[in-house]
Symmetry: C2
Subunit: 405 residues, 2 copies
């Protein structure tokens, strides 16, 4: 059977991610890993979940195990709508579609918007999983530079020349994966100006929004959009949220928030693609969110904040001259730029061999494969002491590489 | 914001399903409904699930709530591989991808195989959800008639003329939704002959396989394929299984079984589309399957078998001349063909108004919209007494319609 001959053309874009292959190799017990981008499982609200499942099985087991509607569990959509209002986005449950994590939201939005050859505007670097999700729909990427001065006409002409149109701008405005950086209010407004000029939607990936450790919260792009357009029904921003960084990633519960007309199309898409996200999981998330969301996320912020501070302080102590890094106000990541001439992929090999530490080389996060002098460090799963030790080792590896270069 | 202008071309194929809109209207307490195609929630193994969740929370809560690998939970894949061997398909966990229900398997297989304009061979009628999943990838459909004598060259030429190629044949060989019919051994072999001649895969949808009430089991197409090709690695059949009809649909756990090379591509696709199916749910299904699968499915067969027999007997008693129906050996559905001149959609309105009974008009299951004289009856959720009452009422409605026509 000639499988290559029968695969759809889009499969040419779906390659094994180097970074994920790499992460498998890094999973060794004696390696101090700053590579993963996952929440600390020791901080999961397991007791609250245990109680939630007990409650559900005591009262609504049959509903929890049965098929349910594609748009998602009503009480959970209500809770999310209330939480969206709290961050400045007045909306109702009809503006919310429950997805299986925000990864599924990105896949659905790619499916909704991209015809092959269309252009997606993304950062250089950007979230690897967004590129993976969009790739299935065969887009061309163009470089979105927040605060940059390339005009709408230029983006539109380049997209037209490539045989498509600009379909959306994708951005993670708060403590982005991989850079940890946050868009300023001015950059957010500038992005809305650009989207208006191109008449395209903005995909706002808010995966880390709840994890701000210092500084003032900046309004979500959807909030600024509503202020301009008059309400969520006339907004152009599609907001992707998730419980993966706050309550549990393993239950796969995220959401899209946007105008009803768009949510209705996404509901049809979900119906055709997997009917609905697991009923029981949505009920459990609704129970746990209602019971402990505010104090639990406060605890997460306190814990991760200390780890973030430990990493920034250790970097200051141990990095040689010429190394630069982001100073995140939240999230899970610090983005590091190496001195000229160093390659993060080569450095990783050396770091594993000589110092037993791991990180993610940055090139994987660039749509064009550039960024070989960058790397991503995650502080979410290590204690401050381990972070101090790890950054000391990283400093040693970089110094040795500089001598060797 | 001009949303129509920014949607991908595939969105033109994703319309609200009339049948699903209809099903919402039918959800009235005084209506006897034979419309839904869902398992009886009264038969869910709720106690086994309650215990499974208790066990998981006592021993492996952190793993259950954390991210996990895209291919699925190892012990569950092992259990499925063993169960596949039991039905004549020797394979290992590397031949199994866990999906969020078999609906997601159909979506992924459409994504894997269909470029816009390619041809999918499907039955007239066929599973509505398969058409919905495939539509997102903009196929052309051609009519697959089991035991029919249209040759491979004819299918290939028609596909070429339409600007694509035949990419797969989709079939549900056992007690299919919507017809309840089963392909004979000879029809299965004939389908394999056709697939070989076209060098295309077969998608075998085995959603109802475990629910055989009478007659001898016929080998799955994948089993016959392996007998020809020498082993699963050289087979062309992609088998879609699910726990939705046996243990719980709400947990969204299904699988694809096929050659490793194809499973590996699907794993990449899943990684990009939703990372993985919920960890906890996979662990719970693994626990419950290991504990009670055989006796639980035996109980289901006994219960549903009685309902199926009640429906067939009541149809015999109450249907006027000219009405024909399938005689399923398993599953959840009986397929009914009305006397000439009657339209099932018109009949449904009358049935709801005058007799307070509901069913699904058959046209929705035809890729070309034909089949207006057919309807689907489900016996899965009604007692034998209610079924007797309902079929009597259906007979009355059909008789009245015949008089009016």
């Amino acid at each position: 059977m000639d499988w290559q001959g029968v695969f759809a053309s889009r499969m040419g874009r779906m390659k094994a991610s180097e970074i994920r292959e790499l992460l498998k190799l890094l999973d060794q017990p004696d390696v101090i890993s700053f590579a993963g981008g996952i929440p600390d499982p020791g901080l999961f609200p397991t007791e609250a979940f245990r109680e939630a499942f007990e409650t559900i099985f005591a009262g609504s087991a049959a509903a929890a195990l049965q098929y349910s509607v594609s748009e998602g569990y009503g009480p959970l959509r209500d809770w999310i709508a209330q939480d969206m209002a709290r961050i400045g986005v007045p909306c109702t449950r009809d503006n919310i579609l429950i997805t299986s994590g925000s990864q599924q939201a990105l896949d659905y939005l790619g499916k909704l918007l991209i015809s092959p050859g269309d252009t997606a505007l993304v950062g250089w670097p950007t979230y690897l999983g967004a590129l993976g999700a969009f790739n299935a729909y065969e887009p061309r990427y163009d470089q979105l530079t927040p605060g940059g001065n390339r005009g709408a006409a230029d983006f539109a002409a380049a997209a037209r020349a490539a045989g498509g149109a600009v379909k959306f701008a994708y951005v993670s405005p708060d403590f982005a994966n991989p850079t940890g950086e946050t868009l300023s209010l001015r950059e957010r407004e500038g992005l809305l100006d650009l989207a208006e000029a191109l008449d395209i939607p903005i995909i706002e990936d808010a995966a880390y929004l709840a994890l701000r450790y210092r500084g003032e919260a900046i309004p979500p792009i959807l909030n600024l959009d509503i202020a301009r357009s008059g309400g969520i029904e006339s907004a152009r921003t599609l907001y992707c949220g998730t419980f993966s960084k706050t309550l549990s990633p393993g239950l796969r519960v995220g959401w899209v928030c946007g105008p009803k007309a768009v949510i209705a199309r996404l509901v049809l898409m979900k119906q055709a693609a997997d009917l609905h996200s697991a009923t029981l999981n949505q009920m459990a998330i609704a129970e746990v969110a209602a019971a402990i969301y505010a104090p639990h996320t406060a605890m997460l912020r306190e814990t991760y904040s200390a780890r973030c501070a430990a990493m920034l302080s250790a970097l200051k102590t141990h990095m040689p001259e010429g190394v630069r890094w982001s100073e995140p106000e939240g999230g899970m990541f610090v983005w590091l730029t190496l001195p000229k001439g160093l390659d993060a992929a080569v450095l990783l090999k050396r770091a594993l061999e000589t110092q037993r530490i791991a990180f993610v080389p940055g090139a994987a996060f660039y749509a064009d494969g550039s960024g070989r002098d960058t790397l991503r460090l995650s502080f979410s799963c290590a204690s401050p002491a381990l972070i101090e030790d790890g950054m000391k080792r990283l400093g040693t590896v970089i110094r040795e590489a500089l001598v060797a270069a």
